[in-house]
């Protein structure tokens, strides 16, 4: 399997990468970990004329905790997030989700930013980013802009990153109060991708009731979305199995479900409720 011909340029800095992308316009594609793009190139489902390899831009990789947020560079790999001791305390959901992505070789190459920018309908990070209220930093020729996760995923394989722009880093607001989070995934046994995956973050008030919840699903439809009806049904309740099950039972309204050879639309609709319940209960179970 040999891709169509293309030229390859390795960018040394964000500015250089953006310059190259502007220069080549629609003919250029960013190459990060390559674990979504290269399979598409090999099948000739994508045939860009130029690949701009950003993997050498050191500034874009790494995890920085500072005050009220953690900043994750776009090139931080799934494996970096899986292994990070720093994140295990504040965002245990990151290693929990990372370890469920593909396999170790995929995690060694694939990047957090690449996964978000690619917006695969079954990618794991989009659901996690929605549940954590991530803020995406995007740089283009006109400077930097910041987009909330809620506005970032547009459609199948379409995020708000425009041609000529780079996703550079992602901020995760530091949770305050009594917070628990979890990602629960039903993996496709062969591909490893999510048939359905649900990420949940819950905050409890002084009396132990849920004061806020963010719950998001991937794999169900064309893009990851928040399950707002579940979130609303949880607020003010104590997170007992019964209450969580009732809230999770509302999950999935408005999703245009995908059906494929592995899981029908009905099956996915069912899984969304089951995994919403599991994710919220698991989040409630690890509140600290």
């Amino acid at each position: 399997m040999i891709p169509s011909e293309f030229d390859y340029v390795k960018a040394g800095s964000v500015q250089e990468a953006i310059g190259l992308l502007q220069q080549h316009g629609d003919d250029a594609k960013v190459l990060a970990g390559g674990h979504s793009l290269i399979p598409l190139l090999k099948l000739r489902l994508a045939s860009p004329a130029v690949l701009v390899d950003i993997s050498g831009i050191g500034d874009l990789r790494g995890i920085k905790s500072g005050g009220d947020k953690v900043t994750i560079g776009a090139l931080t790999t799934h494996n970096d997030l899986e292994q990070s001791a720093e994140l295990k305390g504040s965002f245990p959901i990151l290693s929990e989700a990372a370890t469920l992505i593909g396999d170790p070789m995929v995690r060694n190459r694939g990047t957090f930013g690449g996964s978000l920018a690619h917006a695969d309908p079954a990618g794991d990070w989009p659901a996690v980013a929605l549940a954590l209220g991530a803020q995406m930093h995007i740089t283009g020729s006109g400077g930097e802009r910041t987009v909330a996760a809620d506005d970032f995923f547009i459609d199948i394989l379409t995020s708000d990153v425009q041609p000529g722009e780079l996703l550079t880093s992602i901020d995760l607001p530091m949770p305050s109060g009594k917070v628990g989070m979890s990602y629960q995934k039903f993996s496709h046994p062969a591909s490893g991708y999510a048939v359905v995956g649900v990420a949940a973050m819950v905050t409890l008030d002084g009396s132990g009731n849920c004061s806020s919840a963010r719950v998001a699903v991937t794999g169900a439809g064309a893009k990851a979305v928040r399950l707002t009806s579940v979130e609303e049904a949880l607020v003010g309740k104590s997170l007992t199995e019964e209450n969580v099950a009732a809230a999770a039972g509302t999950a999935g309204e408005g999703i245009d479900y995908l059906g494929d050879i592995y899981a029908s639309e009905e099956y996915r609709a069912h899984l969304v409720k089951v995994f919403a319940k599991r994710a919220v209960l698991a989040a409630a179970g690890n509140v600290k």
Partner: protein, 156 residues
């Protein structure tokens, strides 16, 4: 891989039926259509450059219109190769009057298969991609209907 849904289209049932089975309109609205030549009645040799977002590929094969029951229903069969894999899809398209006869409700029920190397990576993305292409197709057809009615009104 199932693709089904319905759309409400501008125009009475017979007009919509005629447009949806009109080779010229199909040529305009099949995504990235580069070739659409009738080789036998209802059977067209077709080349499409189709895609969504960053994914694009070339479909080479045949499109067949059969079981025509004007103005109620017909069957559309798509068969050929797409980026090194094979695809086969059968869609049943049925029409019913809507909005007191001024509009038409079009219901489509499609089932498709992909095979070859494409299946390993592409399978997962094919259903949502196909759905997006189908939506584009019907939006384009609706545009055709509207513009035909406008020109029709001007002439007549």
């Amino acid at each position: 891989m199932k693709v089904d849904g319905n759309v409400t289209m501008s125009g009475p049932q017979q007009v919509v039926y005629d447009t949806l089975s009109d080779p010229d309109a199909l040529r305009q609205c099949l995504p990235g259509c580069e070739k659409f030549d009738e080789v036998s009645p209802g059977r067209y040799e077709t080349v499409l450059k189709a895609g969504v977002a960053g994914i694009k590929g070339t479909f080479i094969g045949t499109v067949t219109l059969s079981d025509a029951k004007s103005p109620e229903s017909y069957t559309l069969t798509v068969e050929g190769s797409f980026s090194g894999g094979f695809v086969k899809g059968v869609g049943n398209i049925s029409l019913a009057p809507d909005g007191g006869g001024a509009k038409t409700k079009v219901t489509y029920v499609g089932d498709g298969q992909v095979g070859g190397p494409l299946a390993s990576v592409g399978q997962r993305l094919m259903a949502p991609a196909a759905r997006m292409v189908v939506n584009q197709f019907f939006r384009c057809m609706d545009g055709q209907l509207k513009s035909r009615q406008e020109t029709g009104a001007q002439v007549g």
